[in-house]
Structure formats: structure tokens, C-alpha cells
């Protein structure tokens, strides 16, 4: 499958690792994060999964920045890191609070609001 991609659209004759490789890796990270978010019940793991999705975007950004020689992409990554850190701070505080309340980190205990 990778060969198809490499020979098709993204072939760069010189490089052995092409943009396509980065993109597939980034896509896989994104989907893995997504799948992890959906399947895991532990709030911390779920949060780490969203971080993974963020970093997938970061990887794609860096790869694209390198490809199009536009450093804006790399700047973007720094900002993404900051936002991810802020979100992490909030997420961890939230997890602590929730754990104190319910004595569990499972996401399933929070199901009173529905319908």
C-alpha cells in the first residue's frame, strides 16, 4: 500500500523517507488516538489519547512545513504544544477533582445526565 502511495502522488525521487511516510504515520497516530479514546475507560488514558491526536497534527504540520518550506507550520506546532500543556494542566486538575468525588477514574460512572 505504501508503495502505491510512494509511486503515486508523493514520490520525491531523492528522499527515501517521503512526505507520504510522515502523513501515514500522522494519520495512524490520529486514528489510534481516536480509537483509544473510544475504547478505553480510564479518564487519564483517554486524555493521553487526545494528546496523541494533537501530536499527530503536530507531526503533520512539521512535515508539511518542511515540504513546502514554510516555517509557519513549525510555529504552529509550538503553539499547539502550549495549548496542549494548558489543556493538560486543566485535564489533570479535573481528573484529581473527579477522582476525589467518585473514587474511580472510569468514565462510565458519570452517566446521570442523559436522554
Amino acid at each position: 500500500m505504501l508503495e502505491v502511495l510512494a509511486q503515486g502522488a508523493f514520490a520525491e525521487p531523492m528522499a527515501s523517507i517521503t512526505l507520504a511516510h510522515y502523513l501515514v504515520l500522522s494519520g495512524a497516530m490520529f486514528v489510534l488516538g481516536l480509537v483509544g479514546f473510544v475504547t478505553r475507560r480510564n479518564l487519564i488514558i483517554m486524555f493521553l489519547c487526545t494528546e496523541m491526536m494533537f501530536q499527530a497534527s503536530g507531526l503533520a504540520l512539521v512535515a508539511f512545513a518542511r515540504y513546502s518550506m514554510n516555517l509557519d507550520g513549525q510555529t504552529f506546532v509550538i503553539f499547539v504544544l502550549t495549548v496542549a500543556a494548558a489543556e493538560a494542566a486543566m485535564g489533570l486538575a479535573l481528573v484529581v477533582l473527579l477522582f476525589r468525588k467518585q473514587e474511580s477514574l472510569s468514565a462510565e460512572v458519570w452517566n446521570q445526565l442523559k436522554g
Partner: protein, 136 residues
């Protein structure tokens, strides 16, 4: 900008969507195989052990919940936030030395980073008022 992918791909060519499609399929497929693989191969246990903070298989000998002082969390978070500020200082510092000294541009850059640091000061002030830095 000339290097952008559009030129390589050729817009409007229906075949151009095939690699994208395959790429998505590949990404989804890879992820799904992993998940399905763990479902099939991995042992499945449910219960209390699964809900505990450490999923490494270690059974905690006693409740993990000791009464840590809440300040530990606060310090951890303050560190996290202030730590990230530095990320912005590095690129700035690396570029600033290349600017022409005394130029208007250099001045603008200085003002900008000062404003940025000022916001950090406000955050510090807030933390101070909140009592994060009191260790009594």
C-alpha cells in the same frame, strides 16, 4: 508556496483522490487491526482492578489515595504552565540576535517579548494572590 502539493497532484483529477482514500484506509486499517488484535489476543479482565490508576497489572497493596497536600498539584500545574513559556523564549532569543541592533524592528521585537513576559507576571501575581507559593 510553489512547492505546495497541488502542483504535484493536479487538481480535479479524480484519480488524485485515490491515494488519499488509500491513505485513510491505511490509517484506519492499521488502527483497527491493532485494536482488534488486542481484543483477540489480549486477556480481558473487567472489574475493580481495571479501574485503578495503574493499569500495569500491579495490584496496589493499599488505597492509592493518601491525602497529599493539594499544593503538590498546584506546583505541578504552575510548573507545567511556566515551563511552556520558555518554549516561546527560545525561538525569540535565537532570532533576536540576528536583528540589526538599535533598529526599529529590534525595538518592536523587544516590546513584544516584554508584553509576553508581562502576561507571565500577571499570571505570577494571580498565583501569588491565590496562595500557590505559600508553604506553611
Amino acid at each position: 508556496m510553489d512547492g505546495c502539493i497541488a502542483t504535484t497532484l493536479g487538481a480535479g483529477d479524480p484519480g488524485a483522490y485515490l491515494p488519499i482514500f488509500l491513505m485513510i484506509m491505511g490509517a484506519i486499517g492499521f488502527a483497527c487491526i491493532n485494536v482488534v488484535g488486542t481484543l483477540i489476543l489480549g486477556p480481558r479482565r473487567k472489574g475493580e482492578t481495571k479501574g485503578i490508576p495503574y493499569e500495569s497489572g500491579m495490584t496496589p497493596v493499599q488505597s492509592a489515595r493518601k491525602r497529599f497536600n493539594v499544593r503538590f498539584y498546584l506546583i505541578a500545574m504552575v510548573f507545567l504552565v511556566f515551563d511552556v513559556e520558555v518554549v516561546f523564549l527560545y525561538p525569540w532569543a535565537a532570532t533576536f540576535s540576528n536583528l540589526e541592533p538599535q533598529s526599529e524592528q529590534a525595538f518592536t521585537w523587544l516590546v513584544r517579548i516584554m508584553f509576553f513576559l508581562l502576561t507571565t507576571v500577571v499570571a505570577y501575581l494571580y498565583g501569588f494572590r491565590k496562595g500557590v507559593f505559600k508553604f506553611d
